[in-house]
């Protein structure tokens, strides 16, 4: 329980750092560390497959994509942020955390429990038999992503 809390605090801290840090590269690495910690939390929650996906895909692949984009857009560092962001972010975040701590417990009691049968079988059975339509949707989304990237990087023959 204590380790889990420490991990959760680490995730939130790394995520806040990722938003606040001025250096984009450090931000991306900080986001990767947050994903890594979240993956460890998933492992400890008896969800190994979600943990593996979180660590390999989110902490690995997405970080690589971010770093690639940062290196391709050199002038990204020159964007001037408002001064408001520097002090308003921590202030708003702490204020919302206090509201979160005060309100959440009351809200939690009002959430109705959906009646559902106890789960049986393995993760594979649930994924392949129970959520087959999700898999079809995943394939469609991946194809849509591939075509979108192809369309965005298409060479325009007429103008060049």
């Amino acid at each position: 329980m204590i380790l889990q809390t420490a991990l959760l605090i680490g995730v939130v801290l790394c995520s806040v750092l990722a938003i606040l840090l001025r250096d984009l590269l450090k931000s991306a690495v900080s986001l990767a560390v947050a994903s890594l910690l979240l993956g460890i939390i998933f492992f400890r929650m008896d969800a190994p497959y979600a943990g593996v996906f979180e660590i390999s895909v989110v902490a690995g692949l997405i970080t690589v994509l971010f770093i690639l984009t940062i290196s391709l857009t050199r002038a990204g560092e020159e964007v001037r942020e408002t001064r408001l962001a520097r002090w308003a972010f921590p202030l708003a975040f702490v204020a919302f955390l206090v509201i979160d701590a005060l309100v959440m417990k009351g809200l939690l009691g009002k959430v109705p429990a959906l009646a559902s049968a106890a789960e049986t079988g393995t993760f594979g059975e649930v994924l392949w038999k129970g959520r087959t339509l999700d898999l079809v949707g995943q394939i469609a989304v991946i194809l849509a992503g591939v075509f979108a990237v192809l369309a965005l990087f298409r060479k325009d023959d007429k103008h060049e």
């Binding site: 995730v11 938003i19 931000s27 497959y49 996906f53 989110v58 408002t82 972010f89 789960e119 979108a148």
Partner: protein, 102 residues
């Protein structure tokens, strides 16, 4: 179990809030996208912790895996868009996008 659920939910909401405040205050396109990623992290933590607390971890896991696959597709498309915006305007400032004139 309820206390553990409360703990997870508290931190998941904290992540979502951090991302939303970042979205409101930042101007760099890559920073904005990092904020969207943080919101996504909060949502996946919310899904999995609720599954864990309610005894349906397998379905929650399937949903989180689906979400992560969709996230990768989203990231690839959005970063390609960001690179194209940079090529056109030589800037990543989101205020520059408000000018519609090419």
């Amino acid at each position: 179990m309820s206390n553990t659920w409360y703990l997870y939910l508290f931190f998941a909401v904290a992540l979502v809030l951090a991302g939303l405040i970042g979205l409101l205050l930042k101007r760099n396109l890559i920073k904005l996208f990092i904020a969207i990623e943080v919101v996504g992290k909060g949502v996946s933590l919310l899904l999995l912790s609720t599954g864990f607390a309610k005894g349906s971890i397998l379905t929650a896991q399937a949903l989180v895996v689906t979400y992560i696959v969709i996230e990768v597709s989203l990231v690839a498309t959005a970063l390609a868009l960001i690179i194209n915006v940079y090529r056109h305007g030589k800037s990543l400032d989101v205020r520059g996008l408000a000018k519609l004139k090419g």
